[in-house]
């Protein structure tokens, strides 16, 4: 039923249009008194010495990696859950095996300390 998506597509266009429109209106009416200090990055009154694009903790990458793995595996469960009525016991056992493999990976990540943040 592709025609059900036409209103949603229209909605996306309206939402983008609304966001751009409000920014344009604001640009026309808002006050503007800029000076050099006002345009500097905010660092609680201290003059910024180094660039902000520095190295940061590798933990964030680790979380993102784990997220990709677990979320993709979860998405596989959606079609299974929808037709569970037809699959019955076979589908359940199949999914328990799938979940078991997922849990092994999860326990491994936990034991390796990937889930600790300190």
């Amino acid at each position: 039923m592709p025609e059900a998506y036409i209103p949603i597509f229209l909605f996306i266009l309206v939402a983008i249009g609304f966001a751009i429109f409000t920014l344009m209106v604001s640009r026309l009416v808002h006050a503007s008194r800029v000076n050099k200090v006002k345009l500097e990055p905010y660092e609680c009154g201290i003059e910024p010495l180094t660039d902000a694009r520095d190295r940061y903790s590798v933990r964030y990458y680790l979380v993102a990696m784990l997220f990709v793995i677990f979320d993709v595996e979860t998405v596989f469960m959606f079609p299974w859950a929808v037709i569970m009525d037809e699959l019955a016991l076979f589908g359940l056992i199949e999914m328990l095996v799938f979940l078991f493999i997922l849990v092994i990976g999860y326990v491994y990540a936990w034991r390796k300390g990937a889930l600790d943040w300190a």
């Binding site: 909605f11 660039d51 979320d71 469960m77 859950a81 929808v82």
Partner: protein, 332 residues
């Protein structure tokens, strides 16, 4: 042409306006409720009991100076708030306000999947906003915010699977109809899922006690420290629209959506005198009140506690709930 374009456009216009008005009054409600929780009066100056504050705030934000820091990436800096707001609004396309096709814009058979995927796009707005600011606090806050969002998303998505098992459909209209048929709100069938989704929803909307991305004692203003004027307002709007979305999902999946309380008891039929959409909006605002109530009550988590709650508590509970639901479904 009329049915596929004009009528949906009218409905979209009404809905977008309704969401914007709801957001402005939600902000007023939040300020009032928190003020009362702290024995203050809250906004009282603009209009009777400060009611017109909801109109004064957007006008002020439009008129405020909107600066772009010299070091910022100009184009991405403008793109980020748009990317944050658009998904927050588009999600409402599949939210049904009533049983009739008049009350929703599109009932697609993958409604729940649509909501999950579209709300996830909002994370890009936060990452890009923090990155484009080229300032230390926003960058750190945007990293935190995105790590927090994706951590809790796993638990929420897994919990949704167990709800889908109970209903057998991804359509939001179908989920509410399933509750009407079974004569009981899913809150009583899936209580664990309700708690998981509510906690996850608090974390995904960056609300207290999980409002670390905006922890003012550590990160000044969070990822939008460098934002001002209308571009800040778009971020703000997106945050509150997301709160409404989470409440709407909780109401649709666990509290019968537009159904009146006790939908199968005929003797309470007089409750149907109120239209379905009023029941829906009323329930949504009840949950928004709970969001605000929690913010007024609970202190903020520490970041490592937040991550370990998401990864070490919510995910195992979600997997357990999924297995139990699956076994129950087959055995009974």
């Amino acid at each position: 042409m009329l049915d596929t374009v004009v009528i949906p456009l009218l409905k979209i216009a009404v809905l977008v306006n309704a969401v914007l008005v709801a957001v402005t009054f939600l902000v007023l409600m939040e300020r009032k409720v928190i003020a009362w929780a702290q024995s203050r009066l809250g906004p009282m100056r603009v209009g009777p009991y400060g009611i017109l504050q909801a109109i004064a705030d957007p006008i002020k934000l439009i008129l405020k100076e909107d600066i772009t820091p010299v070091k910022a990436d100009r184009h991405v800096f403008t793109l980020a708030p748009i990317m944050s707001l658009v998904p927050a609004l588009v999600v409402f396309a599949v939210v049904p306000f009533g049983p009739d096709p008049l009350y929703y814009i599109g009932d697609i058979n993958v409604g729940l999947l649509f909501i999950i995927s579209v709300t996830s796009i909002g994370v890009y707005g936060i990452i890009l906003g923090g990155w484009a600011s080229n300032s230390k606090y926003p960058l750190l806050a945007s990293l935190r915010a995105s790590a927090q969002l994706i951590s809790y998303e796993i638990a929420v998505t897994m919990t949704l699977v167990s709800v889908i098992l109970t209903t057998g459909t991804l359509s939001l209209v179908g989920i509410v109809e399933a509750q009407q048929e079974s004569g009981i709100w899913f809150a009583f069938i899936q209580p664990v899922a309700l708690v998981l989704i509510f906690i996850g929803g608090l974390a995904e909307t960056n609300r207290a006690p999980f409002d670390l991305p905006e922890a003012e004692t550590e990160l000044t203003g969070g990822f939008h420290t460098e934002y001002s004027g209308m571009r800040f307002a778009l971020f703000f709007l997106a945050e509150y629209a997301n709160m409404i979305v989470i409440s709407a999902i909780v109401v649709l999946m666990f509290f019968g959506g537009w159904l009146r309380p006790f939908p199968n008891i005929a003797f309470l039929g007089f409750l149907d005198l109120l239209p379905a959409w009023i029941w829906f909006v009323g329930k949504v605002f009840l949950f928004l009140y709970v969001f605000i109530w929690i913010r007024a009550t609970l202190p903020r988590y520490r970041y490592d506690q937040l991550m370990s709650l998401g990864w070490k508590v919510l995910i195992p509970v979600a997997i357990g709930n999924l297995v139990v639901t699956g076994v129950f479904k087959v055995v009974f």
